[in-house]
Symmetry: C2
Subunit: 336 residues, 2 copies
């Protein structure tokens, strides 16, 4: 089993080239983020700062910045828009943790545990409004259209996921619809808007959209796989969180589809909340292994990763393209 | 004690003239609302529809429509924008009920009680995103600026209110800051945007903004007073809700400021959650009466109501102006 896609050297794929590519731009983005999360109400920067300074990778703004590099954009409008994208993402995380009742994110206590659900809901609303203010300041109706549509799609995806919770017969297609909406839509929009500010042809917009969308799906699939292989110490996420929340993810969908009657009964009981002990989770991991469901979730991730890489095949070769390709390889290799 | 401001006839003020003025336009707005709250995820229109069809007065879209009449706008762009304003308001209500743990609104069970907090949070996010999509479709960056700013101000006001909860020494000025943000800002924006789409001079924008803002404050003050005089059967709101939630409103602020040491101890205990029985609420009503705090809350409301009326003094006389003046009179007379 190889972790990477078509790598010709022996180096492990890393996010480092992408981080280096956008380091200067990211400083500018961070300045906007820190400036625009301020408020006369002290709880707002306190709570928002906990999450924003909390070790997130800033993956989505990095995608805006690297996409801009890929197409040779030399302006600065994308700094404000990358901050706007990060605010949408942060608002979503705050609301997600309330919805899921999560107590740990990136190895830290969640805002809803520290400040309570009401504060998390309202500060999320504030950041969401602020993200639109940033877009309006930029002034591109096309960017506003892309990001307001992405926001609506994300919310729809979250509701879709909520109504799908604890339904063991969810199926891979509906699951893909959900992660397309709740994760991949913002990855796609983050990439696409760089082509809009650079006034590139629509074909380039769509290519970047496809890169972001496929990377987003790959990213989410690997995240779902990690829940069945890692521990909280290394990933900042509790292994078994998804399992204990009865969350339907691809490893479960595959293990359920491939299991016998006894296995299916176990999964139904587990997902419906009747078997959630540590011993049950250990059994779940056994079943997932037996059915190769994590391996094949990762194989699916590599498929989308490869599509992401091919989507930007038409752009000029160079540092930006290399870094964006290696970012995909890193994303799909994380679980190994 | 008279209920109205400068009324020369003996008729009770009513919302009827405003309703009649905008009835045709409101049909168009309702069509947009019903059309745009749809989604492939059935829970979204189901939950949103519960609140949207639930007997709300559509006060904010009515203000957009009547303001447009006042200035002689004959286009249709404001229909979509009025729907957008109502979506922002509906999203805020959904999140408010989660934040306050409310179980009753307009005499009906709240969405969070029926479908749970997670669904209310997420459908609120969806409506909020949809409202921006509607604005983007209209295409005015100026409208987008006004409404994205209002949204950020509302969220800040909500957080401000949250941090002020159960603080008996809040004071009238900070309280006014809060209701200015969480209620009056959207009333102001709803009126103002009609002048933007009609391309009227900035002075008219500001006059309509002032009408909406002062009406919004008056409206909220009367709402706060009602909590200490009415019952759920007539108003669709439980009398004593604010009291039992430890919510600081102007009647409490005045009663606290005007009370003796014993009264103040009672208010502190009540607002901090230690005295919330029916007998305590009866005592609270006694104290509020003794200090004339409801009467003077209503006097404050009449002050802002008068300012709202004077703000539109410069516009041409006619049906629209008469209806908008009478709407203010109705708003401040509601508690009598």
């Amino acid at each position: 089993m190889t972790a990477t896609i078509h790598r010709l050297d022996n180096r492990e794929p890393s996010l480092e080239p992408l981080l280096q590519l956008v380091a200067g731009d990211m400083n500018a983005v961070n300045t906007v983020i820190l400036d625009r999360m301020q408020s006369q109400i002290p709880l707002i920067p306190e709570l928002a700062g906990h999450l924003i300074a909390g070790g997130g990778k800033r993956m989505r703004p990095m995608l805006t910045l690297s996409s801009a590099r890929l197409i040779g954009y030399t302006g600065t409008r994308h700094h404000r828009l990358a901050a706007s994208v990060e605010f949408i993402h942060t608002a979503t995380l705050l609301h997600d943790d309330v919805v899921d009742g999560s107590d740990l994110r990136r190895g830290k206590r969640t805002a809803n545990i520290i400040w309570g659900n009401p504060a998390s809901v309202l500060v999320g609303d504030f950041l969401f409004s602020r993200s639109f203010e940033l877009m309006v300041e930029d002034g591109s109706l096309k960017v506003l259209k892309i990001l307001s549509n992405a926001s609506a799609v994300i919310a729809e995806g979250e509701v879709n996921q909520l109504t799908a919770a604890r339904r063991v017969d969810l199926g891979e297609d509906r699951y893909l619809d959900i992660i397309n909406a709740k994760t991949a839509a913002l990855f796609a929009a983050a990439c696409r808007i760089s082509a809009v500010v650079a006034e590139r042809p629509e074909g380039e917009e769509l290519a970047l959209d496809a890169y972001g969308r496929n990377l987003g799906i790959a990213f989410q699939l690997v995240d779902d796989a990690i829940d069945y292989v890692s521990d909280a110490g290394t990933m900042g996420k509790d292994a078994g969180d998804d399992f204990r929340e009865g969350k339907m993810t691809l490893p479960v969908i595959l293990a359920y589809a491939r299991g016998d009657a006894e296995d299916r009964k176990f999964w139904k009981d587990a997902i419906e909340g009747r078997r959630q002990s540590d011993a049950d989770f250990a059994h779940a991991i056994d079943l997932v292994r037996k059915t190769r469901s994590v391996d094949d979730t990762l194989a699916r991730a590599r498929h989308y990763g490869q599509r992401a890489i091919d989507a930007i095949g038409g752009f000029a070769n160079g540092k930006a393209k290399d870094a964006m390709i290696e970012a995909v390889e890193f994303a799909v290799a994380r679980a190994y």
